[in-house]
Symmetry: C2
Subunit: 365 residues, 2 copies
C-alpha cells in the first residue's frame, strides 16, 4: 500500500497551481488561418474546433501527435456488495491482469491507433500487487458509499497525487494522453459524483452500467440519492470525492490536472473518466481547456457531464465499456484535426497552383 507522504489539501493546491491556461490569445490567428484554407469557412465543423483548441495547447500549427498513451486507473468499490453491478468485484482484478496481458478491448483498440496502455492500480481489492500494473494502491477498494464516506480526504489526495504523477510521467514521452478506468460498481460512484458536482437530478445520471435490470436500477438510484443527500449541497470536489467518490475517479482527476500541467491534450472517455475530469475542472477550470471529449456514452449522465464541461463528443457509438476504449478511438481524429492546420493549402495557394499546372493524368483504372 502506498500513500503519498506529501498528500494533503496544501499539496493538492500546488498541483493545481501548476496548470497554466492554453494560449487563448492565439485563437484569432488560428481561426483566420482555418478560414483561409481551401474549403468553405467552418465546413470542417467540429474538426476545426478541435484544431483551434489544439493549436492553443501545443502550438500553431500543431505538431503530429504520434506518441499516444492511455492511462487506465483501476480500483474497487465497497458499494459493489449492494449488488449494483452485473458483475462480481473480483472482475476488476481479473481485468487488470488482462490489461497487462494485452487482451482487453482497450489494448486491442489502442494497438490499432498506435497508443500505449499503462494500467495503474490505485485501489484494487487484491491481496498482492498485479503483475504488469503500476502499483499505486491507496487502499483495497473504497468503503461502501451507501454506509458513509467512501474515502478520507487524505485518501482522495493520495489517489489524486498518484494520477497526477502518472500523467506527468506519461507526458515525458507522450504527445497526447487518453484517460480510462476499470472498477466494478464505479458507475454508481460516478453517478453520485456527477449529481453532487452539477446539482443534476440523480434520476438523470444513474444508468444501467454494465447491464442491470429495472429492480437493480431502482436500488442503485436509491443508494446514489441517499449518498448525495449526505453532502447537503456541498459541491467542493475534494469533499464530494471523499463522501461518494472512488480512488480511480480521484486519480483520473489528478491525471487530468497533471496532463494539463504538462500542457498535453487530454482525451476523456466515458462516464467514469469524465466524472474525474469534471472534478478536476471544478478544482481548476483551466483543466477543461486541455480536455477533448471522445464519445457520447449510452450512460445518461455522460451527456450531463459533457454539457457541464462545454465539450462536444466526436464519436457516437453507444459505448458503455469504459477502459478508455472511446478515448483511444478518438485519437486519430484529434491528430487529423491538427494536420488540417499543418498541411492544408490556402484557397489562394490552390488557385495559383491550379492556374499554372498542365501535366497528364497519372492514374487510370
Amino acid at each position: 500500500m502506498v500513500v503519498n507522504a506529501t498528500s494533503g489539501a496544501g499539496h493538492m493546491r500546488d498541483l493545481l497551481d501548476a496548470v497554466r491556461p492554453p494560449a487563448a490569445a492565439r485563437m484569432a490567428d488560428v481561426r483566420a488561418r482555418l478560414d483561409a484554407l481551401a474549403k468553405p469557412p467552418g465546413s470542417l465543423g467540429g474538426l476545426e474546433d478541435i484544431a483551434a483548441r489544439l493549436a492553443c495547447i501545443v502550438g500553431n500549427p500543431p505538431p503530429p501527435l504520434h506518441r499516444r498513451r492511455v492511462l487506465v486507473f483501476a480500483a474497487d468499490h465497497g458499494v459493489a456488495r449492494r449488488g449494483v453491478s452485473a458483475y462480481p468485484p473480483d472482475v476488476t482484478r481479473h481485468m487488470c491482469a488482462l490489461f497487462a496481458a494485452g487482451g482487453a478491448a482497450v489494448n486491442v483498440l489502442a494497438r490499432t491507433v498506435g497508443a500505449d496502455v499503462t494500467v495503474v492500480d490505485v485501489g484494487v481489492d487484491a491481496a498482492e500487487p498485479i503483475a504488469g500494473v503500476v502499483a499505486r494502491r491507496v487502499r483495497r477498494g473504497t468503503r461502501d458509499l451507501a454506509d458513509g464516506p467512501a474515502l478520507t480526504p487524505d485518501e482522495v489526495d493520495a489517489a489524486f497525487s498518484a494520477g497526477w504523477e502518472c500523467a506527468r510521467a506519461a507526458a515525458r514521452d507522450a504527445d497526447i494522453i487518453a484517460l480510462g478506468e476499470m472498477g466494478i460498481a464505479n458507475t454508481t460512484a460516478a453517478a453520485a459524483v456527477t449529481a453532487a458536482l452539477t446539482g443534476e437530478d440523480v434520476a438523470c445520471v444513474v444508468g444501467t452500467g454494465t447491464g442491470i435490470d429495472a429492480a437493480v436500477l431502482a436500488r442503485k438510484r436509491d443508494i446514489v440519492a441517499r449518498a448525495v443527500r449526505r453532502l447537503g449541497g456541498e459541491r467542493d470536489p475534494r469533499a464530494v470525492l471523499a463522501e461518494v467518490g472512488g480512488l480511480e475517479i480521484a486519480a483520473l482527476a489528478g491525471a487530468a490536472v497533471g496532463a494539463a500541467a504538462s500542457a498535453r491534450p487530454v482525451v476523456t472517455d466515458g462516464f467514469i473518466a469524465t466524472a474525474g475530469v469534471l472534478a478536476a475542472a471544478r478544482m481548476c477550470p483551466a483543466v477543461a481547456d486541455y480536455v477533448f471529449a471522445s464519445h457520447l456514452s449510452s450512460e445518461p449522465g455522460h451527456a450531463v457531464q459533457l454539457a457541464a464541461l462545454g465539450l462536444h463528443p466526436v464519436l457516437h457509438l453507444r459505448l458503455r465499456l469504459g477502459e478508455g476504449t472511446g478515448a483511444v478511438l478518438a485519437l486519430p481524429v484529434i491528430d487529423a484535426a491538427g494536420a488540417v492546420l499543418r498541411e492544408m493549402a490556402t484557397l489562394e495557394q490552390a488557385l495559383a497552383a491550379s492556374r499554372s499546372a498542365a501535366a497528364p493524368a497519372v492514374y487510370a483504372p
Copy 2:
C-alpha cells in the same frame, strides 16, 4: 471525353447482378463470439455492429484493413448558373488540381489515416483533362436541372460504369473503399435525388451547402421542388439520376455497386456521396449491406438518407465539406472494430490467465 461503349440499361443490369449479399448466415456465430469476449455483452455498442457486419463481408475474424483508398468523383452542374452555391463553378476544376497536388482537406486527412486518394473526373467543365486526375469525363458538366433533364440515360450509364470500373480497379489493392466527391452546386442535385428517391419533403432535404443565405436557400428549394415535380413520383433510380442527378452522383452509385461486387466494405461520406449510395441501394438492395456510414453531416438531408439506408453514423462533427473527408476519418474506427473480433480475449481466457499469473509490476512512473 470518354463514354463507355458498353453502356445502357442491359449493361447496368449486369453490373448490379455482380453483387452477392454478404454472408449473413455468419451473423449468429459472430454475435456469439462478441458476447463471449471479455466485456459486458453489447457494451461496445455500434462498434460491435460494425464488427459483425464487417465479419459477414470480409470474413470472421476480419483481417486488418490497412490498404485504404478514397475515390473522389468530380463533376460540374449546370444549375450552378442559378447562383445556388456560395462558390463559382470553376472551383470544381481548381479543387481537382489541388487534390492532385495533395493539398486539399481530403488529402491531408487521408494521409493521417494511411489512405490513398484517387480523383476521378466524370464531368468537370474544363477544356482539358486535369493533370493527376483519372480522366473519365462523360460530358462537361450536367445540363441545368432547373431547365429540364440533367442527363440522358446513356450519360447516367456511362458515369455509373466509370464509377463501377474505378471501384473494381481500386478493389485490386484496397481492403476498404471510401467515397467522396467534388462539384460546385452538387448539394442541389443531391437534394433533388434524395427527395425523389425517398419521397421526403423537399424542405427537409435542402440545406445551406457551402454556406448560402436565406434568400438563396429559398431559391434553391424552389428549384429542387420544381425539378422533383417533373418526375411525377417516378422513383426508378436511373430515371431519377437522369432527370435531377449529376455525373458524380451516378458515378458514386456505380462505385458503391462495384465495391460491393468486389466484396469490399464501402464507407460513405456526406450528403452527396450518400445520395449516390442511396441510388445504388435502390437499384440493388444488397449494396447497403456493404456500406458503413462515417459521419452525420450538418446538411439536413443526410440524416434522411442514412435513415432510408438503415445506417448509423460513427462521427458527429458537423462536417459539410464533402471530398470524402468524413469517410476517411472513420476508417480507423471501422478497422478497429474488426480488431475486436480478431484480437480480444474471451472472458473465459481472461479468467484462466489471471488465475495463473504472478509476475511483478513492469512500469512505474
